[in-house]
Symmetry: C2
Subunit: 128 residues, 2 copies
DNA sequence: TTATTAAAATTACATACGTAATCTTCATTG
DNA sequence: CAATGAAGATTACGTATGTAATTTTAATAA
């Protein structure tokens, strides 16, 4: 069994966000950034760091008597995994229903629309 | 706090699938349908039914000494919830990156593309 | 009527997750 | 050098989830 990478929990993903913004960082820096907006205790954030380490989602390199943490999992790849999962779990693996869904339920900004249109054109062009 | 409906776990969603296909059904029928493809024990499936009842995702109406189960949560609404969740958790709440993501990583059929294009046009037209 | 059995109800148990607290280790400060 | 304090390591504890087993109930078959 080639085990797929352990899933990242919602709380853990908040920590990943910080590291995706900038890396490497010490636990202290990460705590400083996250404690306020999340309301989490310093201990909680350190626990999440350890769990992420255990899952191999981040790495730690010794810097004196502390560590510098960096992501090992790229945000792109994580988004890929999560999207795949939603697609399979919720939409039977088919993209069209998902797209239809978002078209009915989500508000797209003009900018979103323009961007999308560009995207479609690009794909379209490549497709022939 | 108006609590949002309790989330449905992956295993539970397999049971919902059966009820979304056809309802109402007895636990026996549901077991008959699910045991084989999932490899789950009858007991497991009944547990899931009970948990879904507890979450209010399905209802049970007495039929003699057994129950007939029906979905209370509609598939559409569940897809909505799950999609929202992915969007917020993974894509910062913005649809375009999600769609861009799918277009880059998933194979979109010509039909998907056409649908998307139609969709964009529709939204575009409505937006003015 | 009693034994069997299907369904339901209750209980179980390991792992994951949210959220910490406690303990250990050094390095730094009086 | 002893106390303090930050970082890391270990332990904790409740709820959710996957996956059942055990117990109860009531209908049916012998």
């Amino acid at each position: 069994m080639s085990d797929q990478p352990a899933a990242i929990s919602e709380a853990e993903s908040r920590v990943m966000d910080v590291l995706w913004q900038r890396a490497p960082q010490t636990s202290g820096e990460i705590v400083a950034i996250l404690a306020e907006p999340t309301g989490w205790h310093e201990k909680t954030i350190r626990t999440l760091l350890n769990r992420l380490l255990g899952k191999g989602a981040i790495s730690a390199s010794k810097d004196g008597r502390r560590y510098l943490y960096s992501p090992r999992l790229r945000r792109e790849d994580w988004q890929q995994l999560e999207s795949r999962s939603l697609l399979d779990r919720v939409f039977g693996g088919k993209v069209a229903p998902l797209l239809a869904h978002f078209s009915q339920h989500e508000e797209l900004t003009a900018k979103d629309l323009a961007e999308l249109r560009k995207l479609i054109d690009a794909i379209d062009r490549k497709a022939r």
